[in-house]
């Protein structure tokens, strides 16, 4: 009896599986190509709906707030923005590509995904639109941000916002200790140790396994004079510079970072700094306005934070770009919105509202300097964005970042030696590149 029943179950399962697999493949096979002009200048009487999937971050809120003024110029285009947390958004985005039916008309792409998405044919090339948009001034974007949107010489996106890192520190504590902002890796370690007291640690670190630790440590690597890739694109993670950087990182972690913080990520570190428990952190440049906001988490400490480039001047760059998916149902309307929000005039508005920088001219614009978050802040950002590099290049970016981040975490946890961890990281990246 039981055998017969099981056989039947299996048969039902297999038949339905087979039938649906075939129809399923057929469903994902072709992409419908909705009408699109491919041109840059979109007439203001264009009609349509632009469905956008975005990450729920303040930069998105600023974009949402600007939709009304977009509609003054393009009354016929409805903009529908769906926001989700980072990982959810990513999972949902990839799921949406599997559909032949258009799901989103405009998306934002994080830099490690760019090459994979382009390779898979998920994104539309934007070169023609960019060059034919009147007064777009594409050369005004910070070059490192543009580099991220470019795959094999073709641009598939325009910058949305940067998340380059920098050194965020308490000016009052630096003054009290008679220190100046570190200019070498050794000074970074020494300053962090000097700022460590019984009430407070010198630097809140983010050694959580995976993305976080690599994103933080790579700044130390640059400060040590190292790099992630060489000119030819081969990884350079097993070098004397990398070793010095990892040793310094571990030294700072054990002597100048909060106790028991080996799973810390951005959140914990930010709270530690804003809660007067740590004197500094290495994080995204746009955290400064948040730290200095009296309504925010720092309370009375607001106003005593400042931003500086990493010692040595080079830092890790992250960047979100606007891109139009291949299965977008409203490419023209989508470009109208992307071009409008990244235009020189609107960018000033966006940055004044607290949006992260993408254009050089915006950061020297008188309106921004007057009503923004202070000249020093923008000067530091210009410096940061002129020398910054992303964590990954080429295909498999996400996997490469996770693999390196795992090895670094092993070294910090003490389960691998520094040499072993770096050799394994190097090997892992070489394997992923193959």
């Amino acid at each position: 009896m039981s055998i017969r029943r099981n056989a039947l179950l299996a048969a039902i399962g297999l038949t339905s599986a087979l039938a649906l697999t075939i129809s399923g493949c057929a469903g994902t096979g072709g992409t419908e190509a909705p009408a699109s002009s491919g041109q840059g200048d979109i007439p203001s009487d264009t009609e349509g709906t632009v469905r956008i999937l975005m990450e729920s971050v303040p930069d998105t809120d600023i974009v949402v707030d600007l939709v009304d003024s977009f509609n003054e110029e393009y009354p016929g285009i409805a903009v529908e923005i769906e926001t989700l947390g980072f990982d959810q958004m990513r999972d949902k985005l990839i799921a949406s590509f599997q559909s032949s039916e258009p799901t989103y008309d405009l998306i934002v792409v994080d830099n490690p995904w760019m090459d994979d998405f382009v390779d898979a044919g998920f994104l539309q090339p934007l070169d023609d639109r960019i060059t034919t948009t009147t007064d777009y001034a594409a050369e005004d974007f910070f070059q490192p941000l543009v580099d991220i949107t470019e795959v094999d010489g073709v641009r598939y996106g325009v910058p949305f916002y940067n998340y380059a890192l920098g050194y965020l520190y308490r000016t009052d504590l630096y003054e009290e200790a008679g220190l100046s902002v570190p200019s070498t890796l050794d000074e970074l370690v020494a300053n962090s140790q000097a700022l460590t007291t019984s009430e407070r640690t010198g630097i809140a670190m983010q050694p959580q396994r995976g993305y976080k630790i690599f994103e933080e440590w790579a700044n130390w690597l640059f400060a040590a004079g190292g790099s992630i890739y060489d000119e030819s694109g081969a990884p350079t993670l097993n070098t004397p510079e990398a070793q010095a950087a990892l040793e310094a990182y571990i030294e700072a972690f054990t002597t100048a970072a909060p106790a028991n913080s080996s799973n810390w990520a951005f959140d914990e570190a930010f709270r530690s700094v804003s809660g007067d428990q740590s004197a500094a952190m290495i994080s995204y440049n746009w955290n400064l306005p948040g730290l200095n906001d009296p309504e925010g988490a720092s309370g009375d400490l607001a106003g005593s934070f400042a931003l500086a480039p990493m010692p040595g001047g080079k830092q890790v760059l992250g960047s979100w770009s606007w891109a139009i998916p291949a299965n977008s149902a409203a490419s023209d309307a989508a470009w109208a919105f992307a071009a409008w929000i990244t235009s020189t005039e609107v960018d000033v508005e966006r940055v004044v509202a607290g949006g992260a920088a993408i254009r050089e001219s915006t950061l020297t614009d008188p309106t921004v300097l007057e009503s923004g978050f202070g000249e020093d802040y923008y000067a530091a950002i210009i410096e940061i964005l002129s020398d910054a590099a992303p964590l990954s290049q080429g295909l498999g970016g996400e996997e490469m970042i996770q693999a390196v981040g795992t090895e670094l975490s092993e070294a910090v946890a003490g389960t691998k030696t520094v040499e072993q961890a770096l050799a394994d990281a190097q090997a892992a990246v070489e394997r992923i590149q193959r």
Binding site: I12, S16, L18, A259, T406, A413
Partner: protein, 287 residues
Amino acid sequence: MTRMTRFRWGMLAPVLAITGVAVGFPLGYAFYLSLTDYRLTSRGAPDVVGLENYFFVLTDPRMWNAFSNTATYVIIAVALQTLLGLAIALALQKQQWARDLTRAMLLAPMFITPIAVGLTFRFLLNDQLGALPAMLRSLGIDYDFFGPGNALFTLALMDVWQWTPFMVLLLLAGLESVPRQPLEAAKVDGASAWYAFRRVVLPLLTPVLTVAVLLRSLDALKVFEYVYATTRGGPGTETETIQYFTYQTGIQFFRLGEASAVAFVLLAIVLTLIVLLFRRLQRSAAR
């Protein structure tokens, strides 16, 4: 076909049909994917590569590490839940005062979505932001909840917090169905409470315990949210569980074919364990 067989199949039909679609199809499709080089970034039909994915994952030390982490997690979590659950169920059974309130309260953790439990504990156990380390420190204890060697144990404790109520629920039900007679007979014979528990209650409770342990183990094998919310598999790969590993491989790294192969290796192992367990139970029941 007799009327009886027709009735029997008629009764089975809805559950078979739904299971066919809801379980059979994804299972069959995932099995097909496990034989291909399918990536989420590939378009059109993937190439069939036979057992290549299986050979690859079976020789991947990361997968075996994830398996052993998961097994450790399940054993610690379920063992603690069973002991605590049994103790609490015994205590609750005798309790008179505020009975419904206590029980309702003790069951609450089950109804909190695991991702929220993970995030709550991430901060509750944080050395600077959390209330628990602050209290421990005032007692002179310094404990690194998510540090090397401790993190997996901490995750298991989160599971204990959330799912001991489930054990309590099942065991309480089991205790209520234990007949009074043998217990009273044991008391008349002058047996100690412990002796009565061990010789009378526990044997009667064995079926319930088996079911509870099995259900919890299968569910604990699916641990994902806690890892995702707190350690992301670190330090190193100490808390990389099988679900987190398949999530990374299949979705973050796009290699769904390979991830499907991992899933079927897991299924094979779990099925084998269940069959072995079942054989033993049958044998001990026959004795």
